[in-house]
Structures are given as structure tokens and as C-alpha cells.
Amino acid sequence: MTLVGRFFMKAFAIVEVEMIKIRRDPTEILSRAIQPALWMLVFGQVMQHAKAIQTGKLAYMDFMAPGILAQSVLFTSIFYGLSAIWERDLGILQKYLVSPTPRSALVTGKAISAGIRGLIQSLFVYALSLALGVQLNWNPVSLLGGMVAIVLGAAFFSTFSLIIACIVKSRERFMGIGQVLTMPLFFASNAIYPISMMPTWLQVISKVNPLTYQVDLLRSTMIVGGTQAFSLGVDIAVLFGATIVAILIAARLYPGLAS
């Protein structure tokens, strides 16, 4: 087997294990459906009627659905590092690290798993959107684009979370930081209002926030008449680049979590 083949064989060994775990205990992933439902049913409906947020020709519900999808993936992914700390507290991580598997393959496996988890979660948001009359775009190419946005967003934020875990090392500190980070990441993005509505300083922050590019890509692919602030190429390039950089950093820091 080539080096690259072996790398992905090992990464997918990690993915396979995560899939087995999701299949055995789907309750955790099911419970993740509640939060987006609240946002869309309460916040979305109120804002739609209030017409407080200018979204051009798009109905507010249509505008916000991709943002809520991205949010639901973000809120799960950002706590992904917790499982790494858990694996460290047992001896599972130590054993992985002593095997002749490149650290980057382990980290990539985790990132891909988070991506697949994100896809499963987005099924709920799609179902919810359908029920609420959001104009979904079923064009296969658009669907594929949406899947790319979901997988890359989940892969980036889960790896970012792993990096935090490797730095703070303890469960308590990790939970603290995770909670502090989620809301700012969400609000400093175009998830529930367009960038053009933001004060300049917030625009600057949201333009370095990968969530913005994930939402942008989703907004142009998920709904009928969806608009895009950046181009498809920019969105994908930013998300993919950020994910690769995060994986490289995490692979370097990962061994430190064990010692």
C-alpha cells in the first residue's frame, strides 16, 4: 500500500469506530435536534413577522435556515475535543500514540468523523426547514455543495476544538473555554443577519471567522434564490485551507495531550 493509501486506511479506521458508536447510541445526536428547532420556531418566526432584518428578496426563514444549520454543526463540533480529553483520561489516546500511525492520520480521522456527524445532524435541520416551508433547493449539484460546506465546517471546528483540548488539557478548563467561544463565533458571523448590517468592527471579525464562509456557501446552495457574499471558490478555499492548517497544528499538539 502506498503511504497515502495507508494514511487514509488508518484515518478511516478511526472514522469506522466513530460510526459504530453513533449507531449504538444515537440519543446524543438526536438531542442535538432540539436547539435548531427552538431557533427556527421561536427566533425565526418572530423575526420573520417583525421584518427587523433586511434580507432582500429572501424571506427571513429562508435566510436563516442555512445559518441555523451551520450553528447546529458548530455547537456540536466545538465540544469535540472533550472526547479526546476523555480518551486521554483513560489510556486509549496513549495507546493510539504508541502505534505506528501518523498523528495526522488520527486527527484527520477525527475530523472526517465530525464531518459525517454534521451531515447526519443536518438531516434534522433539513426536515425542520421543510416543515416550516423554507424554499429548499433540491438541485443535486447544490446539495453536493451544501454537503461540502457542512463537512468542511464540522471538520474545521472539531479540529479547532481538539487544538484547544491539547492546550488546556483538563476537562473543566475545556468546558469553560468551549462555552465562552460558541456564542461569539455564532454572533460574529453572517448566520442570522447579513454582514452588511454589522458595525465595521464586527464585519472585520466575521470575515476572519470560518463560520461566515460555511454559512455563505450553504446560503448559496441550500435554498432557492440563495445569495452569496463571496464566491464559491473563496468559500471552499477558505474552509479547506483552514481545515488543513488546523489538522497540521492539532497533529503537532496531539502527543502533548498524553504527557
Partner: protein, 265 residues
């Protein structure tokens, strides 16, 4: 040449020197027992040898590879069972083994047969498809040892393989370790804080205390060196290590090892 040799190996945590200029060799097919009280530095020594932690100074050569120069090559030659639980409780025994056979480069055509062989070798064939969460401490340990042997490593590191096990489970783990050595000619380095364990299992013993290797030899070498050939190993140990001292970190150590014991039991 020895399979493992350390050269003034040292590992410090800030101002605590957990492994202090240790030099020793382990020969091929030896079962080397590293014994010492909690906090002696045994686990740290194993973490450095298995490349989990870089030494502060000094080095070790395992199967001809330097742990600081070429840790990746070292990792392909060794197996490791950590002191903590390292099998995944949410998976079955078979799934644990299949996953690990991929991580350690068992050729794809042999993964199923090696997994089956490992299950049979460790007397786990009839619980192969049960979740590890439901296993007893002894079964978990046997599974972990099976995992670490899938790629037939030349050298195996077992950190406190019987901590927290009842006497029956402990005897079964001992028996399987011996069988493994006889079948695959694996060289083994294990740690323990029980003299009985090294007496039963080990061809050579190293006594560690406060990060230093204070005596090395066969059981009878050590007894002779202690000045009383009829001494028990416990007496030998007390002779070399001295009476218990109140070392800092004792509380944390006790908490940690008991937590481990509870998980395993």
C-alpha cells in the same frame, strides 16, 4: 547487542526528577520487572521508552533505534499496555482488535485471522462480540495485551498489568504473559509494585525508587546482594529502598492508583 539499552536516561517534570540518570539493558526474550513503590518513576520510564514523552537528557536504544532520533521506527517495533484502561468500552473485543490491527499495519488479508488468533490466545473467543464495558478487569487486561501483540512486536511494555485485579484474574494474566513470551519470543518489560509478581514472572528485576535504579539482577542475585540469601524479595526491597518516606504527591498518587484500580475492578 541488547534489545533495549538506556544511557543515563532522565525525565524531569519541572523540578521533580521522575527518572534520574538510569542506565540498564534488557536482553532478548527476557522478562524484565521494574519494581518500586508508587511514585518511583516506573510509568514515566515506560512513557519515555515508548516515545510518549521525550527524555530531558540521556537516551535509549530499542531494537537498534534511538528513541529520540527515530521515535517512529521505535513505535513500529513495540507494543504498549498503559497503566490505565486503554481498550474502548463502547466497542466489542473484536472491534477493538480490528481497529488496532489497522493502526499497527497488520496486512489487510491477515487482520481477521490475527484477531481470531488473539481472541483464542487470550481466552476471549466466546465473548468476542460483547461490549468491553461488560468485561471484568482481568478480561480487559487480557484484551489489551492481545491488542498490543497484533503486530508481533519485538518488545512489549506492560505498565502495572495486574493492578486492581483479584488473585484469580492476576494469575490468569500472569499465565498469558508467560505463554506469550514462550509462543512469540517477545521481550517484555513490565512494572509492578508487588514483589510477588516479579518473583513469579521475571527473569530479571530492577528496583526503582525516587527515580533511581538502585539494584538490578535476578531474584537470587538481589537476595545475595542484600546480604541474606534466604531473604524474601519483600525484605530485599525494604533493604534497598529503605523505609517508607513521606514523599510529596503521595495523596495524589494514592488517589490516582486507586481510581485506576476501581476502573479495572
Amino acid at each position: 547487542m541488547s534489545l533495549l539499552e538506556t544511557h543515563s536516561l532522565t525525565c524531569a517534570f519541572d523540578d521533580l526528577i521522575a527518572v534520574d540518570h538510569v542506565t540498564f539493558n534488557v536482553e532478548k526474550t527476557e522478562v524484565f520487572g521494574l519494581v518500586g513503590p508508587n511514585g518511583a518513576g516506573k510509568s514515566t520510564m515506560i512513557k519515555v521508552l515508548t516515545t510518549l514523552r521525550r527524555p530531558t537528557s540521556g537516551t535509549a536504544i530499542i531494537c537498534g533505534h534511538d528513541i529520540t532520533q527515530n521515535p517512529a521506527a521505535v513505535r513500529s517495533m513495540i507494543g504498549y499496555v498503559p497503566q490505565m484502561v486503554s481498550a474502548d468500552g463502547d466497542l466489542t473485543a473484536r472491534e477493538n482488535l480490528m481497529l488496532y490491527s489497522k493502526l499497527v499495519d497488520v496486512p489487510s488479508g491477515e487482520r481477521k485471522s490475527r484477531t481470531l488468533e488473539a481472541l483464542e490466545f487470550m481466552n476471549l473467543a466466546d465473548v468476542a462480540d460483547k461490549r468491553v464495558r461488560q468485561f471484568s478487569g482481568g478480561m480487559i487486561r487480557r484484551l489489551e495485551i492481545a491488542q498490543s501483540m497484533l503486530h508481533r512486536p519485538a518488545m512489549l511494555f506492560l505498565d502495572e498489568p495486574t493492578v486492581g485485579l483479584d488473585p484469580v484474574a492476576r494469575a490468569s494474566v500472569w499465565e498469558h504473559i508467560m505463554q506469550l513470551r514462550d509462543t512469540y519470543q517477545t521481550t517484555i518489560l513490565l512494572t509492578t509494585h508487588m514483589m510477588e509478581e516479579v518473583e513469579n514472572l521475571c527473569t530479571k528485576i530492577g528496583i526503582m525508587n525516587h527515580g533511581k535504579m538502585i539494584a538490578i539482577g535476578t531474584a537470587s542475585d538481589l537476595k545475595t546482594a542484600s546480604g541474606n540469601p534466604d531473604a524474601t524479595l519483600d525484605e530485599v526491597f525494604i533493604k534497598f529502598a529503605g523505609a517508607e518516606q513521606a514523599t510529596p504527591g503521595g495523596f495524589e498518587q494514592a488517589a490516582r492508583s486507586r481510581r485506576t484500580a476501581r476502573r479495572l475492578g
